[in-house]
Amino acid sequence: MDFKTKLIAYCSLPVLIILIATVQLYNTETSKLSRWKGGGFGMYTTINDIFHVIVVNDEVLSNVDDSKAKWKFIYNPNTKNAKDFRKHLNETMEVEKLQIFKPIFNTETNQLFYKVRYEKDFE
């Protein structure tokens, strides 16, 4: 195998994986993308986002909704995904405010509480 062939055979896949994982890592550090998703191999590094709570117009949203728009919003909350999720919810209700609450666990006191992770006002 010559150098060029070796490069394709041994480096193309690693470069792709490193590139995707690096972009994911950059996004988790600079935006609200979950460490669990997006090809960065950050599973079990945080409390799973399925335990995050969506609040719509100051009311907790029931867990019945299993739409793609909901999971996109939970795992990667940004303006676009918030708008898409609002559009999805607007079929059944008028959405003025969307929030995601994140669970925080204190290991010393065994206390669990929630704090706002993301907020979007549509008014």
Binding site: M1, T5, I8, A9, Y10, S12, L13, P14, L16, I17, I18, I20, A21, L25, T28, E29, L33, S34, R35, W36, K37, G38, G39, G40, F41, G42, M43, Y44, T45, T46, I47, N48, F51, V53, V55, D58, E59, V60, K68, W71, K72, I74, Y75, N76, F101, P103, I104, F105, N106, T107, T109, N110, Q111, L112, F113, Y114
Partner: protein, 283 residues
């Protein structure tokens, strides 16, 4: 034992790994399929049924990769990492079969490097995560019964505590008023009473050792540790989906090693896939 081993033969490691991969893909594809691509999938299935050596054809893996792309693209930010690993592995098979003269060597190196990158990023993500480093994410998983799921039946008291904790979590998340209040959860201990934050350095060291062992030539140390790692992954958290793919990569990296290690990865893969099919595992 030697006689039994002599009777067992794996003619081609890449073909064996390809078969394992295709079994896993069959179980998972419906989760990530894209309806526009049903024609391509039909063609792939037809071809696998009528062709003898389809696994060693690079364009077969190219078609598999193409059939995966739209589904993964569509669910990239909410699908599990093992699904993304699925496409990496299809590309791995494609590259290895393209260089047919060196296919086993190309597969071995790419499998090793892929495992190395996964472990490197797994360690890096943990080091960067405050929740992991202070032990709170692990403690929360434990309190809600995320560890030793299948063994909870042998610990009825823990099962009760976990159910109670889950009820409290559910109740707290039921309204905005309760969300603003703190609740106390009961600790869950397995045989020995210890703080889950002790596991933090233990996990980091285990993953770092995994990474380092990829460079170790001694097949016994390397493969015994890798097998134990793959077992521990499922024993503690029923990560059968990710562990199944890990077994295929581990099998490929053991290309030059003793048959017994290759068989152990095939056995582990079979157990994990069976757990998925029996709905005792996740995929």
């Amino acid at each position: 034992m030697k006689k039994i081993l002599n009777r067992l033969q794996i003619k081609n490691d890449l073909v064996m790994a390809g078969k394992m991969y295709l079994i896993f893909l069959l179980i998972n594809y419906s989760k990530i399929s894209h309806h526009y691509f049903f024609g391509l999938v039909a063609f792939i299935i037809f071809f696998t049924l009528i062709s003898k050596n389809f696994i060693l054809k690079y364009w077969f893996w190219l078609l598999i990769s193409l059939a995966l792309v739209p589904g993964i693209w569509d669910s990239f930010y909410f699908t599990g990492n093992h699904i993304i690993l699925l496409i990496y592995m299809a590309i791995l098979f494609m590259i290895a079969t393209y260089f047919s003269k060196f296919r086993n060597q190309v597969a071995l190196v790419n499998a090793k490097v892929t495992l190395g990158i996964i472990m490197f990023f797994a360690v890096l993500q943990k080091l960067l995560s405050e929740e992991f480093m202070n032990g709170s994410s692990l403690a929360f998983i434990n309190l809600k019964g995320g560890f030793f799921t299948h063994f909870q039946r042998f610990f009825p008291k823990n099962k009760e505590i976990i159910a109670e904790n889950l009820n409290r979590i559910k109740e707290q998340a039921s309204s905005v008023e309760t969300l603003s209040k703190s609740i106390e959860l009961t600790p869950v201990h397995w045989i020995i009473e210890f703080d889950t934050s002790i596991l933090v350095p233990f996990i980091l060291v285990a993953e770092a050792v995994f990474l380092l062992l990829l460079f170790v030539k001694n097949q016994y140390i390397r493969n015994v540790f890798f097998s134990l790692f793959a077992i521990a992954l499922v024993f503690t958290r029923i990560e059968t989906g990710f562990a199944s793919l890990l077994c295929i990569l581990l099998f490929l990296q053991a290309h030059k090693d003793h048959l017994i290690f290759k068989l152990s990865y095939i056995a582990l893969f079979s157990v994990y896939v069976s757990l998925i099919l029996a709905r005792l595992g996740y995929h």
